[in-house]
Amino acid sequence: MERFVEQFLNLEIMMAAWPMILQGFGMTVLICAVVIPLGLTGGLLAALGSLSGRRPLRWTVIALVDVFRAFPPLVLLIFIYAGLPFTGLRLSPFAAVAIAFFLNNSAYYGEIFRAGIQSVGAGQSEAARSTGLTGPQTLAYVVLPQAVRNVLPDLLSNTVEVVKLTSLASVVSLGEMLHQADLARSVTYNASPIVLVAGIYLVLLWPLVRLVSHFERRLAS
């Protein structure tokens, strides 16, 4: 037991690693701030594409969405980071993370937005159009507000997944929270810095996870 505490809950080592981890926390927040809006925008475009009346566009978008849902995010990230340099294009770790997550998140958010838009009855947009609203106006003022409300739990739960996903950036040595903690771990031979990071994730995400469960149960019953 003592050994367990020493190895996982060593306060002294946690304190020593704290400044590094705080720095990493800033990077984690920065990645989220870039990746979440990018994913939401890409997802909205993907949803509109996959519902388009133009068949070639629709099938292309659906195929792309499925392909990017089939690739594990880490595989996508490593391909972009380690594969693209072979074409002569060398990306910074941050750019690689942003591109990989943009592709992956757009596919997932896209499916959620699509389900949301489909849940709004066709009568709604027909009524809106017949009152003289243009297509984009109908989408923005009538369809999307209802669509987003209908899939809010899924959007929230996917956003939790995206925040968790940022930890993969550590694999391409981008100095986010987990990367900094793992550095501290490799210097001290002690897992406490990573446990500290786990604690930070828990504090950040636990309320959201609770909220998702609450929403899901309300919808199911």
């Binding site: 050994r3 690739f71 595989v75 072979f86 990573i194 828990l202």
Partner: protein
């Protein structure tokens, strides 16, 4: 050499492909083996926990809720690193394969518990009461009346979650599990050629694209919610 030829030689080099195909194929087996184990055990444990929770005993519910919340809130990579690098110093020695299996199974169990539980709570209370009053025991009611309906509701979200988590077997690369990604990156650095990565990409698509398409079909088949 034209640019096209150079491109082919970098990304689709027949000689490199032939040399590393066996090791990537081995990775494919490791990935499949792990995925199946994780899905079977994870969904089994998650469903069992949801059934225990259906007993509605606070002292049983509390630890299950805490477990499910913690494993849904923490990034799997964080858990993998803690288990792989921390446990040996505390005197517990697990192989990388076992660590990856345990972490992903627990994560899937946590999600499965929440999904199945949402299904169980969606069955109206009247059905419990009706079943119990016909003389069925608690276990019979749960097993023959409630669970079949709950599982039906749970199938689409459970499939999506199971796919998402089996894809995470790629995280094993970080601790040296010889899965597809690990074999491919090793081959890429040995050969200085991107072809092994392309082969791995094809392997992932062959494995997961059918599952993604299946989940798309299941969603329309068992429409989860219709607004």
């Amino acid at each position: 050499m034209t640019q096209w030829e150079r491109f082919l030689e970098t990304f689709f080099n027949a000689e490199v492909l032939a040399r590393y195909a066996p090791s990537i194929l081995h990775g494919v087996w490791v990935t499949i083996e792990l995925s199946l184990l994780i899905v079977v055990v994870g969904i089994g444990v998650g469903t069992a926990l949801a059934c225990v929770r259906a007993l509605r005993r606070p002292w049983l519910t509390a630890p299950i809720v805490v477990f499910a919340d913690v494993f849904r809130a923490l990034p799997p990579l964080v858990l993998i690193l803690i288990a792989f690098f921390g446990l040996p110093n505390a005197g517990v020695f697990l192989s990388a394969f076992l660590v990856l299996f345990l972490v992903l199974t627990l994560v899937l169990a946590a999600f499965a518990e929440e999904i199945v539980w949402a299904g169980i709570t969606s069955v109206p209370k009247g059905q419990w009461e009706a079943a119990r009053s016909t003389g069925l025991t608690f276990g019979q009611t749960l097993g023959s009346v409630v669970l079949p309906q709950a599982i039906r509701l749970a199938i689409p979200p459970l499939t999506n979650r199971a796919i998402a988590i089996t894809k995470m077997t790629a995280l094993g690369t970080v601790i040296g599990v010889p899965d597809i990604l690990n074999q491919a990156t090793t081959a890429q650095s040995f050969s200085g050629n991107a072809s092994p990565l392309m082969l791995a990409a094809v392997a992932y698509l062959l494995l997961f694209l059918p599952l993604v398409i299946l989940s798309r079909w299941l969603e329309t088949r068992f429409a989860w919610r219709r607004a």
